[in-house]
Amino acid sequence: MSLFNTFQVAGSALTAQSLRLNAVASNLANADSIVSSDGKPYQAIQVVFSAVPMGNAAAQGVRVTQVVHDSSPGRRVYDPRSPAADEKGYVTMPNVNVVEEMTNMISASRSYQTNAEVMNTAKQLLLKTLALGQ
């Protein structure tokens, strides 16, 4: 039944968007982490979405295929008193772009809401179908 596929599709989108929201949260939380577990400044992470068929070819869900580290150079701040400063007094900060992460967060939460609404509509239609003939 195709309406059940709608659940799968919207559910996969919910999972993907919540993963994206998680990535945003860790990027924002670590926007000032000059030392991460490997001793280098924190690198921003981004999720990669791709469409995957679900149930049949017409139903395309979303899946996070990989989580990539942003390889762009971090911004350099002059702070000679910091223990992480190099010989010229510069500290390499994480390459997290806070503005970008905020827009990412808004986009992810809106998409999450929309897909939750899609699921709700599908549920209502299925309930109507169950009540057919009564």
Binding site: T6, A10, Q17, F49, A58, A108
Partner: protein
């Protein structure tokens, strides 16, 4: 008798299953609104319904069997999906326009509900006809 009942309900039943199919296609578009290079898809409902009522499925794609051991394969989609022409193409190659998709999704769910209502009333009038 059952044959006649079947014929009475079959139109609404086919319309409903096409609506359900379209609901799933539109849900896929909404789900992939942030997927790069995803192309939004849809089908012409009126044409698909006419084809279905006329007893022709639009897919017409069947696997060639070169050995009797091969399983017969048919496209499981009852309709031929087309790609939507975007009004404003986005930079990442995604052609989903949320306002269009949301509008069509709401319209489609409305018509699905209308279909269930029609079917319910048909059932009720048949029940009234068979009351002693």
């Amino acid at each position: 008798m059952l044959n006649k009942l079947d014929r009475l309900f079959s139109f609404q039943q086919q319309a409903l299953s096409l609506r359900a199919h379209r609901q799933q296609v539109l849900a896929s578009n909404i789900a992939n609104a942030d997927t790069p290079n995803y192309l939004a898809r849809d089908f012409d409902f009126a044409a698909a319904l006419q084809q279905t009522v006329a007893g022709r499925r639009q897919d017409g794609v069947a696997l060639t069997r070169t050995s009797p051991c091969h399983l017969p394969g048919m496209g499981d989609s009852p309709v031929r999906l087309a790609y939507r022409q975007p009004l404003q193409a986005s930079a990442d190659g995604n052609t989903v326009e949320m306002d269009v998709e949301r509008g069509l999704f709401a319209e489609n769910s409305f018509f699905y509900e209308a279909g269930t209502t029609f079917l319910t009333h048909q059932v009720k009038s048949m029940l009234a006809a068979v009351q002693p």
